[in-house]
């Protein structure tokens, strides 16, 4: 029987249900329960289970995409902290797709205001929007929200499970619950009698869940300390199963080929050359592309190259220059948003120095290490499908649609992901796998994208242009007036998430610029949406990946115009506006012993960006060598509120820096004839062992006010810090990326 317990705090409800051999505990925060996705065998309805205990042990359900950020370990640790069991003794499962697993962390990000100002009524509104998100099926991993999402509810799940197990023990032993304690997966009586959780699970299922206050931070044993990640052992031994590693009996291997001018139709194709190749078995018409089916992936990919396709032109402008022309045109029209607008930006008091700068950043591919794939088998009345995705509910639904089945007839498995960075928040790779499987009834088939297919069929980080004007006086910025124009990643993402594009200002287009914590008295930031172009979407740190470079580069230019040390210039205007940000900047200053001057042949630059609730500052040091400019050293400081797992926080930060530097130095996607011109890592390179800077120090500042994101915020400051360092070294200001087009780096 399903039992709903007391309201733990605000809108959290604790529930439990009997499952085969034990009990499942859950927490939900919405107005009413969502259908249980775990379908317990006894037919009872459970509610949003996160912790399951049976005779074999304790399992934590982590309905989040594990794509390198360590979410499975972090969520398990949150449960362990309250449940009194070692995190190492918990099993972790991703679980099936479910409406109940909505993402509680995404609400605040939808507010059209700077996140550092979110408090009070705004948090309430954000929660309302999150509740709405639940009813929109938003089981999403993204937006650096996983830890935010789980921080309270997973601890509540653990606490409720603990107290309910204690009550079961109390009834069995005839001792008051208050006399019992818990340790290492067992309830312990005053006389030393130990009852393992596993043997109490069945009885606990008969008890109305009991909620408890969460333990204060001072009592934490696991949280706040680095935990060994559960995925390290399988990933060091080649035994971790990624999407591409799914193997089924009798499985065929297929390769995808689609119109290089994305969105264009397929007029026809000639499979003859492919069918003549050894290993190739079939060429399947997928409507707007083909799949070549073979007995191995390589032959399938060779076959895909050999299929002669007649492609129609796509809907987007054919060339890179046409795309940037469209952005220029958009900027001459009405602004989509003016989310920052204070004072009078036309005011130029006596003695001010006015500066202007234009910026341009390129389109970017995600280029996650594991090329996209999906595996499916269609049985006529049901389908089983596997993919590494950030949107399991949406993926299941699109597979059902392709197969003409009810959603319940599709079993969706979410695998480990060889990187995501935003690319796996789409359904296309799952959809094409389902479409192919429907035509191969009874035969499991894995549909793989070659690296070239992956890179040329991305939802790209949109390119952008910006035009900034500013004025400085007495060492401070007194005017900032920025315009940013580009395609909307929001519109693309919302089409996938909601099937519509909500009206209103596009916050993501200008995030990382309108929302930075500087007390500039006259400031305006306008965003312009350019509607024409290839598919675009979120890319690690989304809008801040564009604007972190643009905005912070301009801050550096203003500091230079003001004749003030660039770090001191930022700090001076930040202190009163947001002390958290100031503390982060001071931390990186102290870490690198910033002195504002460098010896000949060495340049230093600072970059700062507040994104996903987390201020991050980075300093990069570049060295002029005989072989070119070496990106030698980096320092990072960040404030994620509370560092749930400090070593993992550090990994996310230096990883985010590497991702940002890779793009800043090397990467761009250009278009000709509508097709992306870059195909593989030889023309879309990234940081490597020999070009990665030494990470000298990472300082985590914990203001403790709440938990904020960490997967993305390390990325935005990197390009700016590097460009500012190059200016310091060479006197040349970079206003366009990638930097390798203007500077001679060591390779």
């Amino acid at each position: 029987m399903s039992r709903i317990g007391t309201i733990a705090r605000r809108t959290f409800l604790i529930s439990s249900v009997a499952v085969a051999g034990g009990v499942a505990f859950g927490v939900y925060a919405a107005r009413k329960p969502a259908p249980n996705p775990l379908s317990p065998e006894d037919g009872e309805v459970a509610l949003n289970p996160y912790v399951m205990i049976d005779g074999d042990g304790v399992t934590v359900i982590v309905p989040k995409a594990e794509m390198g950020q360590g979410v499975q370990t972090t969520w398990a640790t949150m449960v362990a902290e309250e449940l009194d069991i070692s995190p190492a003794d918990l099993r972790v499962e991703h679980g099936p797709p479910g409406k109940a697993y909505y993402n509680r962390g995404m609400g605040a990000q939808m507010l059209p205001m700077p996140e550092y100002k979110v408090s009070g009524w705004a948090e309430t509104i954000g929660e309302q929007m999150t509740v709405m998100g639940k009813f929109l099926d938003m089981q999403v991993t993204g937006g650096s929200t996983s830890t935010v999402d789980g921080y309270e509810k997973m601890r509540h799940a653990g606490a409720s499970a603990r107290e309910t197990l204690k009550e079961a023990a109390a009834q069995r032993l005839g001792i008051a619950r208050s006399k019992l304690t818990t340790e290492e997966g067992a309830v312990v009586a005053p006389d030393g009698t130990r009852l393992n959780y596993t043997e109490l699970a069945l009885a606990a299922a008969e008890i109305k869940p009991i909620s408890a206050e969460l333990r204060p931070r001072s009592a934490w044993r696991f949280l706040g300390k680095s935990q060994p990640r559960k995925d390290q052992l399988p990933k060091a031994t080649g035994t971790a199963e990624f999407s591409i590693d799914v193997r089924q009996q009798g499985m065929k291997f297929a390769a995808l080929k689609r119109n290089p001018w994305q969105g264009g139709a397929m007029n026809g194709f000639d499979p003859a050359a492919a069918l003549a190749m050894p290993g190739v078995e079939r060429v399947v018409d997928l409507g707007d592309g083909v799949a070549v089916v073979a007995n191995n992936s390589w032959s399938a990919m060779q076959g895909a190259e050999a299929v002669e396709c007649d492609w129609a032109d796509g809907p987007s402008p054919a060339t890179t220059e046409a795309l940037y022309d469209a952005m220029e045109t958009a900027m001459t029209g009405d602004a989509n948003s003016t989310l920052l607008d204070r004072g009078d930006v036309s005011a130029l008091p006596d003695g001010t120095v006015e500066i202007r700068a234009d910026y341009r950043v390129p389109y970017l591919a995600h280029a996650q290490m594991e090329p996209l794939s999906g595996t499916a088998v269609f049985h006529g009345d049901r389908m089983e499908i596997w993919s590494g995705n950030q949107l399991p509910v949406h993926c299941r639904d699109i597979a059902a649609k392709e197969a003409g089945l009810d959603k319940d007839a599709v079993t969706m498995h979410t695998t480990l992901m060889g990187g995501g960075f935003g690319r796996r928040g789409y359904v296309d790779f799952t959809q094409y796998a389902a479409r192919l499987a429907v035509q191969m009834k009874g035969t499991p088939v894995q549909l793989l994208w070659s690296r070239e297919e992956d890179m040329t069929h991305d939802y790209y980080r949109p390119g952008a242009i910006a035009s900034f004007r500013g004025a400085v006086k007495d060492g401070r910025a007194v005017v900032l007036d920025g315009q940013i124009s580009g395609q909307s990643a929001t519109a693309s993402l919302m089409q996938i998430l909601l099937g519509m594009t909500p009206p209103g200002p596009d916050k993501i287009l200008v995030e990382g610029a309108f929302d930075q914590p500087y007390a500039i008295p006259n400031a305006r930031l306008r965003g312009y949406v350019s509607k024409e172009g290839p598919p675009v979407g979120p890319w690690r740190s989304v809008g801040a990946s564009v604007n972190g470079f643009i905005f912070d580069s301009f801050m550096d230019e203003m500091a230079h115009a003001a004749g003030v040390d660039p770090l001191a210039f930022r700090l001076d205007m930040m202190r009163d506006e947001d002390p958290r940000s100031a503390a982060v900047l001071e931390a990186v200053r102290d870490a690198c012993e910033w002195r504002g001057e460098t010896p000949d042949g060495i340049g230093r630059g600072v970059g700062f960006c507040y994104s996903f609730g987390t201020p991050v500052a980075e300093v990069i040091e570049v060295h002029q060598t005989d072989d070119g400019i070496k990106i030698a050293k980096a320092w990072i400081a960040a404030d994620p509120g509370i560092a749930i797992d400090p070593e993992n926080v550090k990994a996310q930060l230096f990883g985010g820096l590497a991702y940002g530097l890779s793009a800043a130095v090397h990467q761009q996607i250009t278009f000709d004839g509508g097709a992306a011109e870059q195909l593989n890592f030889y023309d879309f390179d990234a940081m490597r062992m020999n070009t990665m800077p030494e990470i000298v120090d990472i300082r985590i500042v914990e203001s403790g006010h709440r938990v904020s994101g960490i997967g993305e915020p390390g990325t935005p400051p990197a390009a700016a810090a590097l460009a500012n360092a190059l200016f310091n070294l060479t006197g040349v200001r970079a206003r366009k990326l990638p930097l390798a087009e203007q500077f001679d780096f060591v390779v």
């Binding site: 080649g238 590693d245 193997r247 594991e370 992901m417 990187g419 990470i695």
Partner: protein
């Protein structure tokens, strides 16, 4: 059809000779520890060893395999880790983990030739192995760690 020795075991792969070793392992033998990243020797995810030398298995045709193949499955298992794998786990190297099989196979070949590599030697040996999560600082630390422990052993 090809006969190979993989991780000390004789194996027969029923695929055409021109199919790269990578796909013979993954699709012919279901040994999925070796990863596909680029298909053009630009990322190192598919690195295995042939007679102890690190090679990109996406570039070696099945018919051209000239010696004994060692893959990530062959240097250690979850129950019996190689020293290098142990260092990888202890240093919490992996993030997404997809490139790490190739990184480990490349590093193992390095340590076999250069038991105590300098940072410069690590740079040269590992430059061909891409990691999009940027785990390089911990890969470097794990290699140094393993070198030290193997020396002491």
């Amino acid at each position: 059809m090809a006969n190979l020795t993989i991780n000390g075991t004789a194996q027969t792969v029923d695929l055409p000779d021109e199919v790269p070793l990578l796909w013979a392992l993954r699709d012919g033998l279901n040994m999925t520890g070796t990863k596909f990243g680029c298909g053009v020797a630009a990322c190192g995810a598919c690195t295995v060893q042939i007679d102890g030398e690190a090679v990109r298995s996406c570039q070696v045709a099945l018919g051209d395999v000239w010696g004994e193949v060692t893959t990530i499955e062959g240097i250690g298992t979850p129950d019996d880790l190689a020293a290098l794998q142990k260092a990888w786990v202890e240093n919490q190297v992996a993030q997404c983990g997809y490139c790490q099989s190739g990184q480990i196979m490349q590093a193992a070949a390095l340590l076999a030739q250069t038991p105590m590599p300098t940072d410069e030697e690590i740079d040269v040996a590992m430059a061909g192995n891409l990691c999009r999560c940027g785990t390089y600082p911990r890969i470097r630390a794990a290699i140094h760690d393993a070198a030290q422990k193997m020396q002491e052993a």
